[in-house]
Amino acid sequence: MKALKALPARFHAAAAVFLLIAAAGVIGPLVATAGPGDLLGGPFLPPGPDFLLGTDHLGRSVGVQLVHGIRTSLYIGLLAGVAGTVLGVLIGTLAGYRGGLVDEILMGLTNIMITVPAIIVLLLLSISLDTRSVTVMGICIGAVSWPWTARAVRSQIASLRQREHVDIARLSGSRTWRIIAVELLPYMMSYIVMAFVIQLYGAILAEAALSLLGLGPAGTASLGVMLHWAIAWESIRGGQWWVFLTPTVFITAITFSLLLVQSSLDTVFNPRLRDRKAAR
């Protein structure tokens, strides 16, 4: 609780924005009377009493698509974020704790995965898959996003395991998994939380980028898919601002608020960034 109060005001503002958008994505699809694919009116109707956010090139409601799109994007982001964080922590812990040959092999793999751009691997995966359901997309994104976390976790574990309380646990005969779970991981919780926020951020961006390229989830709206159609049907040059501005603003709001949350957590957890006020 005390730590929560120490967080800067921008943390609370950013967290509030993110939670509001997430709430819209959870509640919106439940209360909406129409589906995201239903043709409800004429094409490119501007915002008005009938359609709060207007309609797109086919006459689908932008508002209904938006709430469904938020839900899809967040679902893919959460799935990929959890998968990426868990994989990264597992691989990093294994490499850092075991050391030696296991470390060499796992870190070699990690370095290769970091060098090869993830978006290209995702693109190749996406064109190869017959069905691109939201779940498959989430898993694919998670499967390529772990290396950053793994590398950072490994270096932390490698230094943590040299502490005395770890030696004592080892001498008193604790099993390896117990040492990792009780003696090592609790020291890294703050880091893992931040890594998860970054993974979530990256996954939402990856989904949007793939969808923009036309490789989005099949049969549903997502923020990236909305932007893809907005660009493909020339709504920017046509001046139909409600069509392209809606996904743009919400992608930006989600990613900006997540990055703000992460950076304010950083100022609390990192003592060197803490309280730099009025030194001069």
Partner: protein, 335 residues
């Protein structure tokens, strides 16, 4: 000698990464369940396609991938053709040569990305160093606006700029590489036209790069600002400009690594920016190829991007070894 060892060990890592990338590029579309080529043809020709087209596509596949051979010799054939610069024939723009299509698009992409990356790196690092040194309101302003520029994906900023400066306020053309009725040639008229089309996508990339670099530099320089040499210089009454110069040089080293790690994201993001502006580079080529299920073009573009990113990473690593003696020392000792 140690520098040579540094370069050789890096070269080994990049060779491994390249092999992995090449294998991914080849095997990924083939390892998934079902006969991939039938899937590809089924997808490529879904809906309306004459039997003539079908036959043509099928023959292209058979010829290009040597389907009667086993997977391993297909892979060797692929590598052999790739090394000769033969990427096959486009489906959607038959009988265009994929290598020629890429050759036509590449200069546009380079003209867009290279100046934006270099200028953005320089300006961003300077702004970041100044922000960390000055602190206070200027720092907070730079930090929040940089965070905003990096948080918003590239294409979102591009969408906003395109609408704001080309549609709502028609100051710039609304996209493409040149005006309708014009065509690429070496004349002054065309050059002026091309630059006016180039400016908006360039500006959008430049702003994003500045933001990203400023954030990185600021977080590095925060540590430098508290260092003894800064206090010492201040007690001398040295000009701020001089001190910032020192901070810049000390914070720059980690920033070079940052540049290496960011290259993949930069190139990927810049390709998406081209789509928003319909700029006639590699990004738009890739976008059209995906829409038309033009697999030879997609695979050639992914391979090209992989190679560029790996080579750029390698060059930065070598550069880093050249300018920082500590790196060479670390190669010899413990990690």
């Amino acid at each position: 000698m140690t520098l040579l060892r540094h370069i050789l060990s890096k070269l080994g890592w990049y060779a491994a990464a390249f092999a992995a990338a090449l294998a991914l590029n080849f095997f990924l579309p083939r390892l998934l369940p079902g006969n991939p080529v039938d899937t590809l043809i089924g997808q490529a020709l879904r809906g309306h396609a004459s039997s003539d087209t079908k036959q043509r596509v099928y023959e292209t596949y058979v010829r290009e991938f040597g389907l009667d051979q086993n997977l391993w010799s297909q892979f060797l054939t692929y590598i052999g053709k790739t090394l000769q610069g033969d990427f096959g024939t486009s489906f959607s723009r038959y009988p265009s040569d994929v290598a020629t299509m890429i050759g036509d698009a590449l200069p546009w992409t380079i003209a867009l990305q290279l100046p934006a990356v270099l200028l953005g790196w320089l300006i961003g690092n300077l702004v970041g160093a100044v922000a960390a040194y000055r602190r206070g309101g200027f720092d907070r302003g730079v930090y929040l606006s940089s965070l905003f520029l990096t948080a918003a994906p590239y294409y979102c900023l591009a969408v906003l700029l395109l609408y704001g400066l080309a549609v709502a306020l028609p100051l710039f053309p609304t996209g493409g590489g040149w005006s309708f009725g014009n065509h690429p040639e070496w004349t002054a008229v065309f050059a002026v036209d091309a630059v006016s089309h180039w400016f908006l996508p360039f500006l959008s990339l430049l702003l994003v790069f500045i933001g990203g670099q400023a954030i990185g530099m600021r977080s590095m320089a925060v540590y430098e600002v508290d260092a003894d040499y800064v206090r010492f210089a201040e007690s001398f009454g040295l000009a701020d400009r001089k001190i910032i110069g020192y901070i810049f040089r000390n914070g720059m080293l980690p920033q070079i690594t940052g540049l290496a790690l960011a290259i993949g994201t930069l190139v990927g993001g810049a390709l998406l920016t081209e789509i928003v502006f319909s700029y006639p580079g590699i990004g738009t080529l890739l976008y059209d190829a995906i829409l038309n299920k033009d697999y030879p073009v997609i695979q050639a573009v992914t391979l090209l991007v992989l190679i560029v990113v790996l080579v750029a990473n390698f060059l930065v690593d070598v550069l880093y070894g050249l300018i920082d003696p500590r790196i060479r020392a670390a190669e010899r000792g413990e990690r």
